[in-house]
Every structure is written in structure tokens, then in C-alpha cells.
Subunit: 354 residues, 2 copies
């Protein structure tokens, strides 16, 4: 158990109107901070008013990118309870990321306690309207004031949070996706399965290229053979082909999404055929040609389910399911969002009350 010191703000901020909520730009009144030093381990846990942080210009995070983050949401349940969705999954992934980039492990119970404490103190910030939530961002940065490549000896673990609006304001619109053939996100042996800043910096250029061409996001192919499908932007991806649901297996270069895992477990519970395996972009195009590519959708914390309406691979554009959300995608979306807000009874034990 952490002994969290709490300093409450005496200048609470104005909360944004529900219809003004944008993603990731407005933060709640408080933040959680905890420090790490080799001799003391993680120590000095506290909740303080949301405020800037001060670091040496030589802090290693600025130079060598030794940093990690997580992303999850708290929902105002239909009955007024505050619910987290599978936080233990994000916490487990935190330590996997930490291991890969040599950040010290963090106690799982302590991390959950920190998240709950922050959500609790800022619970009035959780919006009520359908589809809204409080986005929670735990992150760790390397703070040693030292120029040289090695693990830092000091770190800061922080949790900040922002109220976010409904991802889909007018029904779920399928997105147009650009299949990227020039740039690569990750390869086995690299850090693709870790949630660390460098993966995202590396992805921006392809994303801009897709945007310029009128596409919402990039579909990444594997970096070795350049033909296996990996992820879509910051989402995992699923294909429904001839009644079977396929998602790329976790080969070391793909982030193990919490939503991905939830979708697989849900489909299994429904008795659907789900396969985790490598799948080439050619196979997807062939399925389309054969008329058996039924649905394509991305999965992630932000949108939960994001149907793909169009793919562009080397100029070859295909439209999926008439550019409409598929029945299965809709059912998964309704079920997961229902579970997250407590509208549907949670038989999986996925929701955790704050």
C-alpha cells in the first residue's frame, strides 16, 4: 500500500462543457507523481495540483527517449459508479514495456492504487454523456541529468487525466486507411511491442503522408518481408473473411492491445471462430476480390471499435462492406461499451470499481 500524500488544489479549474470536449487537451485538477532512485526504489507518492514539471535540460528523457506511457479510461457507470476497464492489463503491459527499455518494474498494486486515487479525487471531471469518459495517462520518464547512453538511475512516474468526448458523434463512420509500403513501424527484436515514445515519433511521418492523401490512418506492414499486416495507427486490426475472424498474431513487433484481447475473449465467448495468425495484405485483397472480405475493424482504447471502409494499397483501392459498419463490428462495439459503463452485466470480471 502506498502512503499517498495528498495536496488538494485550492483553485479548481472550470470544467469544459460536454459538447466542447476534445481529446487530450484539457487536464483535470490533480496529478499523481512518484519518484524512483536506486537506493529508495519507487518512493514519495503524492497527488498534487496539476502543474508543470521542472527538469534539467540534460534529463535523459530529452535525449535518449527512455520513456513509457499507458492509456486507459474511467467511465461514469449508468448507476453512478466509476468504472475502470481491465486496468490490470495496462499495468501488466507497463511492466513489459519497462522491462524492454530498462525502466525499473513498478508494483502492480501500487500502480492500481495510484490510478484509483487520482480518478477518485477528480471524479467530478468524469463526463456523464454517452460515449464520454475520463482518459487516464500513466507515464514514466528518465530524469538523470546525464549525457550518455545507459539506463537512468532516477525516474518519475506520473498519472494525468483528461475528460474526453464521444469518439463518434454522429454514429460510427468507417475510416479510410492507407497501407504504408515505404515506412516501417517495428520489427521483431525492436521495441514495437512496448508502449514507448520512440514508436510514436517514428510513426508520424507516414501518418502525415496518409493524411495528405485523404486517409485517416496508416496500416503498417511488417518490416522484414513487408507483406504481413501488423496494426492500424494506434489500433490493432481484425478481418472477417468468409465468416472467420482473423487478427495478426503477436510476433514481437505488434502492441498487445487490451481492446484486442477483449475482442478475442468476447468472440470466443460467443462461439465465433477467431484465429490469431500472420496474414498478408495480398490475402486480404484476394478475399475482397472473391467477395468474402466481410468486415475490417481497428480496436483501441480511444475508439473501442473503428470500422475500416476503404483500404488503399499501392493505389489499389477497395471498399469494405459498402463503407458501412458491419453487424459484427457493431455488436462488439455495443457490448464492450455496454460492459465499460455497466449497462451490460459484466460476466467477465473486466470492470473495476473505483
Amino acid at each position: 500500500m502506498l502512503n499517498i500524500q495528498i495536496e488538494k488544489t485550492n483553485q479548481p479549474k472550470q470544467k469544459p462543457e460536454p459538447e466542447e470536449l476534445v481529446f487530450g487537451a484539457v487536464f483535470t485538477d490533480h496529478m499523481f507523481v512518484m519518484d524512483y532512485e536506486i537506493s529508495q526504489g519507487w518512493h514519495n507518492p503524492k497527488i498534487v495540483p496539476y502543474q508543470p514539471i521542472t527538469l534539467e535540460p540534460s534529463a535523459m528523457v530529452f535525449h535518449y527517449g527512455q520513456e513509457m506511457f499507458e492509456g486507459m479510461k474511467a467511465y461514469k457507470g449508468v448507476d453512478g459508479r466509476v468504472l475502470l476497464f481491465r486496468p490490470e492489463k495496462n499495468i501488466e503491459r507497463t511492466n513489459k514495456t519497462n522491462d524492454r527499455i530498462c525502466i525499473p518494474q513498478i508494483d502492480e498494486d501500487d500502480m492500481l492504487q495510484a490510478i484509483k486515487a487520482l480518478v477518485d479525487i477528480d471524479k467530478d471531471w468524469i463526463p456523464n454523456a454517452g460515449g464520454t469518459a475520463l482518459y487516464i495517462r500513466p507515464f514514466i520518464i528518465a530524469t538523470d541529468p546525464y549525457l550518455g547512453v545507459r539506463p537512468s538511475n532516477t525516474y518519475k512516474f506520473m498519472v494525468i487525466a483528461c475528460p474526453v468526448g464521444a469518439y463518434y458523434k454522429e454514429g460510427i463512420n468507417p475510416v479510410k486507411i492507407w497501407v504504408e509500403t515505404e515506412y516501417v513501424r517495428a520489427v521483431p527484436g525492436g521495441v514495437g511491442e512496448a508502449k514507448t515514445g520512440g514508436n510514436y515519433a517514428a510513426s508520424i511521418k507516414a501518418q502525415m503522408k496518409a493524411k495528405e492523401r485523404g486517409y485517416t490512418q496508416v496500416l503498417w506492414l511488417d518490416g522484414v518481408e513487408r507483406k504481413y499486416v501488423e496494426e492500424v495507427g494506434t489500433m490493432n486490426v481484425f478481418f472477417k473473411i468468409n465468416g472467420e475472424i482473423i487478427t495478426p498474431e503477436l510476433t514481437g513487433s505488434i502492441l498487445a492491445g487490451v481492446t484486442r484481447n477483449s475482442v478475442i475473449e468476447l468472440l470466443n465467448a460467443w462461439g465465433e471462430r477467431v484465429v490469431e495468425r500472420r496474414i498478408t495484405i495480398d490475402e486480404i485483397y484476394e478475399a475482397h476480390k472473391a467477395g468474402i472480405l466481410e468486415e475490417v475493424f481497428g480496436t483501441g482504447t480511444a475508439a473501442v471499435i473503428s470500422p475500416v471502409g476503404e483500404l488503399n494499397y499501392r493505389g489499389d483501392m477497395i471498399t469494405i462492406n459498402n463503407n458501412e459498419i458491419g453487424a459484427l463490428s457493431q455488436k462488439i462495439y455495443d457490448t464492450i461499451t455496454g460492459l465499460q459503463t455497466g449497462a451490460i452485466k459484466d460476466e467477465f470480471g473486466w470492470t473495476v470499481e473505483v
Copy 2:
């Protein structure tokens, strides 16, 4: 021309004794800072006392690793002049990195002016003793207080500097190098040729693994076929085989080192046979077996030349040149360090006076 506002420190720090100099831990009295905003471009250039910086916890650099850095040195010349070594190369590379990770370009003359201005104001910090120098660290960080993957709209460009001791205190000792087969640094299509934090965070784990086994650094193999030699830690690498000097060609996943380029130009000027091509680790081991692997050395700003005395590839250890520095390595080292300090007349136009 930048109009640099200068605020001098009124509390100059104690300079470390020459024999106490360590790399990257002590910083000079001042730092250069310049901001970027879309509407103003790079603006507000200033030199201020070296001090911490304050950022929002949501600053993009902490989450998405949109950051870059450079590394170069200023030398106190034999005649008292202060010399930079090919700064235009680092500046050119800055903009290449910026392009890859969507940081706005920086004017080349402005960047040189900023570096010169900082070195000039802190010139008393440049140590005198042989082998010492002032290490200069320009870097850029993304500062938008925003959680979402896209290029930042605001940045900070900074230059900090630290006096560094002689890399080799008792003659040049060859290093033991671990050939890494599990982890990968970069692949074509990724960010390996950019000097961005994520590459370094990704490299720490393999480096620790090598250290634990008693090796100084890692030799990276390519991430696609896992057989071509790429780099050694934060150095490029050269092999002398049967009189011919070979260095991996720049295929997109290798950093284009300034020292690498200088070594190639020097060897060309000397009429040596230098080849930039892909080379497998097997070819190197075969050359050793045939008795024609004459020298192996790394090249980089920190050590200039670092001879490799031993390689370990899958448990197969080979000793190179009797674990002694080779004649060619020594000659290159003496020439480049001689040029850098002005001890050797610069016929290449490589040195730039501050």
C-alpha cells in the same frame, strides 16, 4: 542572422579539475534556447544561465518521443584558437533527422551561430589538456501540451555543453564487442538513420546484456536478414581485410557518422582502398579464419577511433590484431585528433574557428 539575447550568469560555477572530468555530467555556465511556433517559426533566441526547464506533464516529448539531438566537440587549439570540427555536417544531419520525425527545419546558419555563440561565452570551460574537449549537445524537444499522436506545433531548440576528459587516459585500449543476435536497432523504413531518442532507448537492453557478459558494446546486425553488420554501439564500424578497408554502406538503418565520413575522406586522400558495401558477420569471421582480418575499429565523436580487440558472435570469440591497436587505426586517430586541435595543418577545410 539571429539576434541572440544574452543574459550572463552572475554565479559562475566552479570548473572541474582536468583530471576529474567525466563525460556528460558537468555542464557549463550557460545554455542556448530558441522556441518554435507555427506562426512565428523559430524565434526568441537567447543565451541564459544554465538552468532547469519547465514543461507541462502533457508535453509531447514525454509521451511520443518527438525529439532529436546532435553531438560534436569544440577543441582548444594548440595555438589557443577554439576549433569546431565539421559543424556543418552535424547541422545537415539535424535537418535530416528533423525531416524524418516531422520537426520543422532549422536554418543552417542560425544553428551554427547558436553553437558558436554558446561556445564563445563559455570558452573558459574548454579544457586544455591533450585529448580533452568541450562536448556540445544541440537538441530539440516537442512541447505541445497535448495527448495525441501528431507532429507538435511548438518546440524548443537548445544547446548545452560539458567539458570532457581524454577518452583514452593510458593509451588506446581495444574494446571487446558483443555481436547481438536477439535485439535489433533499426531497419530500412524506420528511424535508424535519424539521431532521435527512440533509437537509443531501444538499444539499452542489448547494451546491458553485453555489459553483463563483460563486453563494452554491442555490434548490431541488420534487422531484416540478421547477418549484415551495421554499427557498434554509438559508433560506425570499419574492417581492414587483406589491405582493403570496408565499412557498411548507408542503407537507411545506419547513422551517417561525421567521423565515418572523415575517415573515408582521409583514406581516399591517402590513396587507400576504401569500400562502402554490405558485409556479413560471416565474411568477417571467414576473413579472420583466413588470417586476413587485419584491423577492426569503431568511429564516433566521443572516442574518434576505438579499436576492436575481440568479437563474440554466438559464443565464437575471435581476437583481432593480437588485441592491439592497428597501425592504420593509430594513424587515422593521430591525424583526425591532430586536425581537430590544429596540430596538423587542415588541408580539408574541416575546422571552423569560433
